[in-house]
Symmetry: C2
Subunit: 359 residues, 2 copies
């Protein structure tokens, strides 16, 4: 990996991104401190739990919503799904959302079609919740309830700490919906401490992964269950900060076509968890390896991935649903290191603005 | 584009794939002939339309399910969503599916976790429907109702005619759910005729697109609304048959990160429709163009994409929801031509089996 000659500019490149990655333990603890407010919102969701929870978001927030599907499903037995925004906002579909809960996730609270969807849903009788880092935003203004992420200003354009805060918010919301909030509140504090230890580990352990990915122009990231969100978020981070065409897939979807594209120049990063999905994740990694791909495995079950040539092990999470709060961290740090190695600036990637006003 | 020296083998390469693309008009007409059976299933769905329709699938079938979200939403005002399979099958989440409809889409009817999901959902009181090309399959055996695709044996591993048959089945199901089946039945016949004309067009018009994509290793495909399914299916075809790392995005999601990765070696294919999403699709194409990407536009509104350097125009569809039956065709033909140019065999891409038994 060639590092560009340091200049004043390159020294500052990505400093916000790295600092915000390191702020995540504090952000999780701050979010946990908002427990009463989250519990109150969860009470409203519980009253409506016969109807599915609709989640809307773009980008990293939409990746967090993937996690919400599992948080609500596993903890509360409540169906949550990522709804189509365009169906309501652009095509004017008249869906019956009365008595359902709508979670709009947006760091800035200013993404136009997310705001538009929420306004319509509220008029039609849904209970609307803005999950945002800006409680003064238009999204917060038009919602029945606001769940502030409290992550502090996120200066890097590529989101990190607000993504983690969204996961934590969804976990606590789902846990309180299931009347199991206290355990997850404590678990979140414990997870924040574990994350702080993890972020303090010597970064040299990431160097082989950064060197492996430096020449790649494309890759796949596999995850299943709650870790599918991690796979999606890692793929987006590598795409936007490192210009690496990374695509996220569930372990099973790999076999339904994409495996045919793999070869030695198409690395596969496998996110592992010690849970019921592990056997299919192991199998998918073997399939990728047989196709010639170099396999990187991260997470508490990375040792189970025989096909992996590189591993970043992670500690087990006492509450398995909180594992994604740890498992995204190596990916964020690799994105930071790989961007630096490529001379790119994750604080300000080309063509991107922090507040995405794009329709 | 260099064509490999023809041998007996290379002459036969991809012949099933191309033949099955050309069979699609007949497949659509055959599906329309099954209208009574589809209407009967739709009656059951209508009785349950207060609850969302859950769709489960992998690969191309899952891409068809993306279309189902819009078909049910736009025609019948019914919420349909792509449910998580792993949540129920691997993690044992106890979701309340009583009184809801479940559509399982699988060409072979033998994908294990799809069968498993359907069995569980039926035991829990859902009305379960197998949409499959094999009415004797395990999936059909365990469903309350079977909607046979009737597409005839699909010999190429990369799906084409069964994908189109699934779109048509979803359109008719949604139309009958809305008591508007007759119009869509006739529309499907008309669309089959238009598709036959389209497939008879000189293939030379595709050559510039094939030449543009030949050196690419990665690309994006954009579509929104009902055409998001087309974007997903085209990306999967190019990935599995041409080893091109193609990723599908909604037009809005492009601005939420991925645009930062674009450059002159990262083509963007834009699927257009003359509908409410056109302005945002035009804007996204401009954004991709500004980032240096070469833009290809297909569909009836391809002329509206000023940023495009290549266009494949398509006729307008009298029933806009049936447009995706036409808009996937140029993509399938480009995949066929590009695979041939690369010496690859879409009938049998590496590492893939026609019946995916992978968990």
């Amino acid at each position: 990996v060639s590092t560009p000659t340091p200049t004043d500019d390159s020294a500052r490149r990505g400093e916000h991104f790295l600092r915000e990655i390191r702020q995540q333990p504090d952000v999780l603890a701050a979010l946990a401190a908002n427990d009463d407010r989250i519990a109150a919102i969860a009470t409203e969701i519980r009253h409506r739990s016969e109807r599915p929870v609709r989640m809307i978001a773009h980008g990293s927030s939409d990746n967090a919503a993937s996690y919400g599907v599992y948080a609500f499903g596993l903890l509360a037995g409540v169906t949550a799904f990522r709804d189509s925004i365009s169906l309501s906002v652009y095509y004017g579909a008249e869906l019956d959302v009365r008595g359902s809960s709508v979670l709009a996730l947006s760091q800035s609270g200013r993404t136009p079609d997310v705001v538009d969807y929420l306004e319509r849903a509220r008029r039609r009788g849904a209970f609307t919740i803005a999950v945002t880092n800006d409680p003064g935003s238009p999204l917060a203004d038009c919602a029945d309830a606001v769940l502030p992420l409290g992550a502090g200003t996120e200066q890097a354009i590529a989101a990190t700490k607000t993504y983690s805060a969204q996961l934590a918010a969804l976990a606590l919301l789902a846990a309180h919906t299931a009347n199991d909030g206290a355990r997850y509140h404590d678990g979140l504090h414990a997870q924040a401490a574990t994350l702080a230890e993890l972020l303090a580990r010597p970064r040299a352990e990431l160097t082989p992964v950064i060197e492996e990915l430096a020449p790649a122009s494309r890759m796949l990231v596999l995850g299943r269950g709650p870790e599918y969100a991690t796979a999606r978020e890692l793929a987006l981070k590598l795409l936007e900060t490192c210009r690496l065409a990374a695509d996220a897939l569930t372990a099973t979807d790999l076999a339904h076509g994409p495996v045919a594209a793999l070869d030695t120049e198409f690395p596969v990063w496998v996110i592992t968890a010690n849970d019921a999905s592990l056997p299919i994740v192991v199998e998918a990694a073997q399939r990728a390896h047989r196709a010639g791909a170099r396999v990187i495995a991260t997470g508490p079950a990375s040792d189970a991935i025989d096909a992996a040539s590189l591993r970043i092990p992670l500690p087990e999470s006492p509450l398995p649903l909180l594992a994604p709060l740890l498992s995204i961290a190596p990916g964020q740090l690799v994105a930071s290191g790989l961007a630096a190695a490529k001379g790119l600036d994750p604080d300000s990637p080309g063509q991107l603005a922090k507040v995405t006003l794009a329709r």
